[in-house]
């Protein structure tokens, strides 16, 4: 296997885009990434596109074909394949693109992620997202995605004494960062009281413990590391790309307070990148619900089980702290266009490692970790990136 680098990155603003369609968002993100790499669509050899559910959200499948066509590639006969792993579809596409270049099959590929979620009413969106869980043995009986997250949170509170007040710190931090990101869905700060007093979605999670429903697209251009410098002075190496899976339903797992797939993906990623948690300068952690982020922080080795929230209490998770966490705003404030999220996390890390993140720039960032999960931490994908 050969080394792979990111040579270009771009994304749309995340949020409610009444005026933009699925293809508009995908093409905008893709063209930005290509422009950033200084190449044209005709220079790429394959496309891997992350998308969870365009078939249900907007009635469009065959997303790979649509995007490559409207990115101007129909004349070039370039393969374009959609990759799906629920909310981890973006990272799954990146994992696929990584393998395609590392294997030597292609030298330059485009990895994109896109989701157009806001065309439908809320109850329909909730039903589609629930497809990431077990439709016949969880959803059928009335479970929604936030309800499953809430049951993880309730059990965590029972086992470790976590309070709602403590858990509220994570969205407060995410929104503080989102307020500094012009591409974020929500660019305003919130207080602990606002989190606690927001409308209840699934007790103990209020709307402010949940990621929003967003539209958005993100893309990166990958090249084999030996040619990367032909395109950019600041290529970012992908030092690890690891995916792991677990039981799809929450009830089938021994514990609701840890994620064996995140533990596995994290361990293998550190080994592959020859890094330890202490070497990581910033993390983008999947905070679809506050509790998932907390479990992620612990299972990736940044804190002992039951103690992750201390990092928030001690202020270490802010962009100028010891473990800058979701400096993009995370899924909570930057937004969660499900298929785009995993790619967007990496777009943020690339900007940070290139020192181009503006107001929220993490000082001296050289190594970043992205953690994207599908379902109730069923599919976990970890990428580690570093300055080369």
């Amino acid at each position: 296997m050969r080394d792979v680098a990111v040579i270009g990155a771009g994304e749309t603003k995340y949020g409610e885009h009444w005026e933009k369609s699925l293809r508009d968002l995908a093409v905008e993100a893709g063209l930005k990434a290509l422009e950033d790499a200084g190449i044209g669509a005709e220079d790429i050899q394959a496309i891997f596109g992350g998308n969870m559910s365009a078939g249900s959200f907007v009635g469009q499948d065959h997303v790979g074909a649509l995007i490559s066509d409207f990115a101007g590639l129909a004349e070039h006969k370039v393969p374009a394949i959609r990759v799906e792993s629920a909310c981890a579809s973006g990272a799954a596409a990146l994992h696929s693109g990584y393998m395609a270049v590392a294997s030597g099959l292609y030298d330059i590929v485009l990895v994109g992620g896109v989701e157009k979620m806001t065309d439908l009413p809320g109850d329909m969106v909730t039903d589609i997202l629930a497809g990431a869980a077990d439709r016949e043995w969880e959803v059928f009986f009335g479970a929604t995605f936030p309800a499953l997250g809430a049951m993880m949170a309730r059990r965590y509170m029972y086992e470790y004494g976590l309070t709602r007040e403590q858990m509220a710190l994570l969205p407060v931090i995410a929104h503080k960062h989102g307020a500094m990101n012009p591409d974020a869905h929500f660019q305003r700060e919130v207080t602990v009281d606002q989190v606690l007093n927001a409308p209840m979605v699934a007790d103990p999670l209020t709307i402010m413990n949940c990621s929003p429903v967003s539209d958005g697209g993100a893309a990166v251009v990958l090249a084999s590391a030996d040619i990367a410098r032909k395109y950019t002075d600041s290529p970012i190496k992908i030092s690890a790309s690891v995916a792991a899976n677990d039981y799809i339903s929450l009830h089938a797992r021994e514990s609701l307070t840890k994620s064996p797939s995140t533990i596995e993906a994290g361990k293998k990623a550190y080994k592959m990148a020859k890094k330890e948690p202490k070497d990581i300068d910033l993390v983008e952690i999947h905070d679809a619900f506050s509790i998932i982020a907390l479990i992620g922080i612990e299972d990736l080795g940044f804190a002992k089980k039951g103690e992750g929230i201390k990092l928030a209490e001690e202020g270490q998770l802010y962009y100028d702290g010891d473990l800058p966490y979701n400096v993009s705003g995370g899924l909570k404030a930057k937004g969660h266009p499900v298929g785009a999220t995993g790619v967007g996390q990496v777009v943020e890390i690339v900007k940070q490692l290139r020192n181009e993140a503006g107001k929220r720039q993490v000082p001296n960032a050289r190594v970043g970790l992205a953690h994207n999960v599908g379902g109730t931490m069923t599919s976990s994908i970890v990428h580690i990136l570093e300055v080369m």
Binding site: T126, E136, F140, F141, A143, T144, A147, L256
Partner: protein
């Protein structure tokens, strides 16, 4: 056509039939054709097993969202129930004040109508849980 989707699962949903791995003894619900712990050794050997329907609340939440098929039940209690046979099940807890539900609460399964008629116009049945008599 979604009727077959509900028809297919009816035996387990109506009668709580799961499977046991004869190699390691683990009980699964819903039924599985391979034991995740024993792999190939278990293929073709999984045995049917009837759950008692008894259990305790392992975790729960009160759902305030608008959920298709459940709008008129809102707010409702969703739970994960730990059974004495081993597997945990996801289901609603009904016939209870939501504030009274707690982890460890003894419950048992009852057969109920699950959701309001969906697009297919069929009524869906399955298990819910109610508190044991105090």
């Amino acid at each position: 056509m979604v009727v077959p989707r509900f028809w297919r699962e009816r035996r387990s949903r109506y009668s709580l039939i799961g499977t046991r791995c004869p190699v390691c003894g683990t009980v699964y619900f819903p039924p599985r054709s391979v034991c995740p712990k024993c792999g190939r050794k278990s293929v073709g050997k999984m045995e049917e097993v009837q759950l008692s329907g008894k259990g305790k609340v392992y975790s729960y939440t009160i759902v305030h969202q608008n959920v298709i098929g459940y709008k008129y039940q809102k707010p409702y209690v969703m739970a994960i129930i730990e059974t004495p046979e081993g597997p945990k099940l996801t289901g609603q807890i009904v016939d209870v004040e939501p504030e009274k539900v707690h982890i460890g609460m003894p419950v048992h399964a009852v057969f109920r109508r699950i959701a309001e008629d969906g697009k297919a116009g069929i009524i869906q049945y399955g298990y819910k849980f109610i508190p044991d008599e105090e």
